[in-house]
Symmetry: C2
C-alpha cells in the first residue's frame, strides 16, 4: 500500500527508472543533435522530469555524458558454447546486431568525436572497448598469445567497426564468418569434423 | 614580368595555391572546432583571402566541406615492390603514418560524424575509402578472391582504424606485421625462403 515512507525497494526501482529514462534521452540527443543539444533543460523536458532532479543526479553536462556512454558497457554478448568458430561468429554477430538495433556504431563514432574534445572520456571509452573486446579475446586466448592474439582480436573487431563506419553498414554474417575462418586458419586451428565443437579425434 | 594579362600558367598556380590554402584552413577548423566553426567569414580571415573569393569558388559551406575531404584522396600510398608481405606491411604503415602525421584518423572520424548529418558526403566517403583500400585489395587479389579477399582487406584496414579510433593510437609496425602474417597464413601464402619476394621453388 503506498504511504509517505516508501519501502527501499520501491525507491530503488524509481531511481533506476529515472536514471534509465534520463540517460536514454541524453544519448538520443547526443547521437541525433550532438553535444550542443545536451542541456539539463532539454533532457529534463524530453524525459519528463524536473530540472532539479537532473541537477541532483548529474551536476554537470559532462556527468550526464559520462553516465550515458557508460550504459553501453551493459550491451549483451554471446554466451560461449565451446565451439570456437561458432562462438566467434556469434559474438561478432552480436556486435553487428548492437549496431543495427541499438545504434552502437553511431554511439562509438560520437564517443570517438567527443573524446577528442573531452579527454575525461578516455577512461569511459577504454572501459567500453575493453569490455566490448573481452569475449573475442577470451575465446582466442587458448589458441593464440602475444602479438598474434592482439592482432587477431583487433582484426576481427576492426573489420566490423571499419565496415560499419566507413562502408556504411557492418558486414553480414557470411562476411563475418569469412573473417573468422581466415583468422582461425592463420592461427592454425582447424574446425573439428562435423563442426560439433568437440575435440577432433583424428 | 607581371602585367595585366597574366599567362595561364601563373593563373593556374595562383588558383591552386588559393585552393590549397583555403582547404587546409577549412579542414583544420573542422577537425579542431567542428562544423559550426566552418563559415566563409572565418575561413577567409584565417586563410588570408577575401570572402568574395571564397564564395566564388565555394558558394556554400557544404561545397567547402566536400572539397576539403576530397583532398585526402591524394594521401600517398606505398609503391609495391613485388614482395607481398613487405608491400602489405608498408602500405598499412603508410595508413598509420598518415594518421600520425596528417591526422587521417581524425579526418575519418569527423567525416563519419558529418556524413550522418549530410548524406551528400556519402559519395566523398565512399571514394576516399575505395581509394584508401585499393592498394591492400590489389595486393591481395592475386592470392584471394570473393569473401576471403573482402574479409582480408576489411580486417587489415580495420585493425589499424579500430586501434586508432578506439584504443587511441594505431598499431605499431610489429602489430601491423602480426596481422599481415596471420592473414597471409590464413590464405595459405607462405613467405619465400630468404624473403626475396620471388616465387618459392620448393
Amino acid at each position: 500500500m503506498p504511504g509517505p515512507a516508501q519501502p527501499a525497494a520501491a525507491t530503488d526501482a524509481r531511481v533506476v527508472r529515472t536514471r534509465n529514462d534520463v540517460l536514454r534521452v541524453a544519448i538520443g540527443l547526443l547521437l541525433d543533435e550532438g553535444w550542443d543539444a545536451l542541456t539539463h533543460a532539454r533532457v529534463a523536458r524530453e524525459a519528463g522530469y524536473a530540472k532539479a532532479t537532473l541537477y541532483a543526479h548529474w551536476p554537470t553536462r559532462r556527468d550526464l555524458v559520462l553516465d550515458a556512454f557508460s550504459r553501453f558497457a551493459e550491451t549483451p554478448h554471446h554466451a560461449p558454447t565451446g565451439d570456437l568458430r561458432h562462438d566467434l561468429v556469434e559474438e561478432l554477430v552480436s556486435f553487428r546486431t548492437a549496431m543495427l538495433e541499438h545504434r552502437l556504431d553511431r554511439v562509438l563514432a560520437v564517443l570517438v568525436d567527443l573524446t577528442h574534445a573531452m579527454p575525461e572520456l578516455v577512461a569511459v571509452r577504454d572501459q567500453l572497448v575493453t569490455d566490448g573486446e573481452a569475449v573475442v579475446r577470451d575465446l582466442l586466448a587458448p589458441v593464440a598469445t602475444g602479438p598474434e592474439l592482439e592482432a587477431a582480436t583487433l582484426m576481427l573487431c576492426g573489420a566490423v567497426l571499419h565496415a560499419a563506419l566507413l562502408h556504411g553498414a557492418p558486414p553480414d554474417e557470411a562476411g563475418i564468418a569469412a573473417g573468422v575462418d581466415l583468422v582461425l586458419a592463420g592461427i592454425g586451428v582447424r574446425p573439428p569434423p562435423g563442426g560439433d565443437g568437440g575435440p577432433s579425434m583424428s
